[in-house]
């Protein structure tokens, strides 16, 4: 079971406004994209992020070889409990997750 980051070319995370986070998995080519869409279990991503599965919106974008995952921010950007103003830390967490 490889880490997602070893299969995909790049994983990035960013705010999509103060209330949403978005993660983009750039797979690079069709083969990596096929491995990622088949091996990346959305329920396991939800468990990794400790959020309800129904909070995740997933887009498999074949034309770009990209999988995009968006979710409401567990802590709104900038509140006392928010540790990460720009949502930067979610990408390495996801990249280190093992996929099937």
């Amino acid at each position: 079971m490889p880490e997602l980051g070893a299969v995909a070319q790049k994983v990035r995370s960013k705010n999509a406004g103060p209330f949403w986070l978005t993660l983009d998995i750039f797979c690079g080519d069709a083969a990596a994209y096929a491995r990622v869409i088949n091996g990346l279990d959305t329920a396991r991503v939800a468990a990794l992020f400790n959020v309800p599965l129904q909070n995740l919106r997933r887009f498999d974008i074949a034309d770009l070889h990209v999988v995009k995952i968006s979710l409401p921010r567990p802590a709104v950007q900038g509140v006392a409990a928010d540790r990460d103003m720009h949502g930067a830390g979610w990408a390495p967490l996801l990249a280190e997750m093992q996929i099937d």
Binding site: K14, N15, A16, G17, P18, F19, W20, T22, D24, F26, L48, F49, N50, R57, F59, I61, D63, L64, V66, K68, S70, P72, R73, V76, Q77, G78, V79, A80, R83, D84, M85, H86, A88, G89, W90, L93, E96, M97
Partner: protein, 451 residues
């Protein structure tokens, strides 16, 4: 009709390539448009009504754009002046503009578009059912709205168009959508509406949609069927992949973009390479909405903060840092209650362990023993004086707290004296809502000044 919009960079203050800008000016743009704002650095800028970027950077770059505008003989538009687009940051940029014009020996007609809202009026609109939540919006009521230090409404193409229709040389707009300053002119000239909004979204971050994203400068040429993306820096190229991938950026949904008065749907967009560096896009659709709404942003004071930092290099303490922190928090909280007469509801204290899980907290999945950790104490209280006092009560624990009663008193490293650092007011975003308007200009004010 072809409408050429020259975009120097993703934001004023980030820098742009002067040679590439000159190349764009030589192509005869109909408009130079730049974004001045973002919520991405947090609620403090809106809460305080201040710019994130240094005045010196803003002035240097804005002056270059005033020179480019005069050379191109076309209007220059900035949306969301001064990061947050409040009246205070609009006035700040107007002041910088006057200074630059004076130094350049230029005169100009300036349209000033204000987006700031009075909290009491938004609270009344909420009570009248004219404020509606977007997805993941926080719970609000009229009292919370009234407690905001600043509220802005995001201007769309209609308000920017009204500013351009004054015949102004320069438009300084308060809060606006990232896309509106770019989309307004092609829409006014009857170019394809889906293409106008889609091209504006592709261009709003400057050359982020090209292979050399730091170069900044890009030209979007709009027409009655779509748009063409032309990067202007040496060595920068746009490909169908780099352009279409930009719809992913800072966007929860990569196919839909909501704007005042409708939404853009790019599901059917086609991206074709014109040559090795230029991309043509057609097929995006603008879907008008039944009612006209503008998005609101608001920030309010959530408390006042004091922070302290200690670094721990002793291996036994590094290995037991969670236990050490929990013990400190329990004892410190009891001491605050006892000595300051507060209740636990009056303050919060967090010890964030840098080097262990400071970025992700409880969801951190990797666990190793680091060489050292930083322990950052974050205190939030109802006044700055109180937060500082609570910090002073925390200080001795961070300096000397032992893991066990039996051992000799330890001492830990402090990087600063005094250890307590007052952060001032901590703000929070509290609106993710839209305001329903009968007339797009109803929430905005337009004024023309000669400078």
């Amino acid at each position: 009709m072809v409408t050429r919009v020259l975009i120097p960079s993703g934001a004023l203050g980030l820098g742009y390539d002067a040679e590439a800008l000159a190349r764009g000016v030589a192509m005869g743009p109909d408009l130079i448009a730049i974004d001045g704002g973002s919520t991405d650095s947090g609620p403090s800028y809106l809460g305080r009504g201040q710019s994130k970027y240094a005045r010196a950077s803003t002035k240097a770059e804005w002056k270059g754009l005033l020179v480019a505008r005069a050379a191109a003989n076309c209007p220059l538009v900035i949306g969301t002046a001064g990061t947050c687009g409040t009246d205070s940051t609009v006035d700040w940029l107007l002041d910088i503009t006057r200074e630059c014009l004076g130094e350049l020996g230029q005169s100009a007609k300036i349209a000033v578009l204000r987006s700031e809202q009075r909290p009491a009026e938004i609270a009344a609109a909420y009570d009248a059912g004219r404020v509606a939540p977007l997805s993941a919006a926080p719970e609000i009521d009229a009292a919370l709205i009234s407690s905001c230090t600043h509220i802005v409404a995001l201007a769309g193409a209609e308000q920017i168009a009204a500013a351009l229709e004054t015949g102004a040389d320069i438009v300084i707009a308060g809060r606006a959508t990232d896309t509106a300053p770019i989309a307004a002119l092609p829409l006014m000239r009857g170019d394809h509406a889906g293409g106008a909004w889609h091209g504006a979204k592709i261009g709003e971050c400057g050359a982020l949609c090209a292979t050399n994203p730091q170069s900044g400068v890009i030209m979007i040429a709009f027409d009655d069927r779509g748009f063409t993306v032309i990067p202007l820096a040496d060595g920068a190229a746009c490909t169908p992949h780099t352009v279409s991938a930009h719809m992913l950026y800072e966007n929860a949904d990569p196919f839909i973009l909501h704007e005042p008065g409708g939404h853009l749907d790019v599901t059917g967009a086609r991206y074709d390479a014109v040559d090795a560096r230029v991309v043509r896009v057609e097929g995006s659709v603008w879907v008008p909405s039944d009612r006209y709404t503008v998005k609101l942003e608001g920030a309010r004071v959530a408390g006042y903060q004091t922070i302290l930092m200690a670094t721990i290099r002793d291996r036994r303490y590094v290995e037991a840092v969670d236990q050490w922190c929990a013990d400190i928090l329990r004892r410190h909280s009891a001491r605050v209650v006892e000595r300051m007469g507060l209740t636990p509801d009056d303050f919060t204290v967090e010890l964030r362990v840098i080097g262990k899980d400071a970025t992700l907290g409880p969801i951190e999945a990797r666990h190793v023993t680091p060489v050292e950790v930083g322990v950052m104490g974050i205190i939030t209280a109802t006044t700055q004086e109180r937060a500082n006092e609570i910090g002073k009560l925390l200080n001795p624990f961070l300096l000397h707290h032992p893991l066990t009663r039996e051992e000799e008193q330890p001492t830990f490293a402090f990087p600063f004296s005094p250890a307590e650092i007052d952060r001032g007011a901590a703000y929070e975003f509290c609106l993710n809502h839209v305001l329903v308007l009968d007339d797009p200009m109803a929430a905005f004010a337009l004024e023309v000044v000669d400078a």
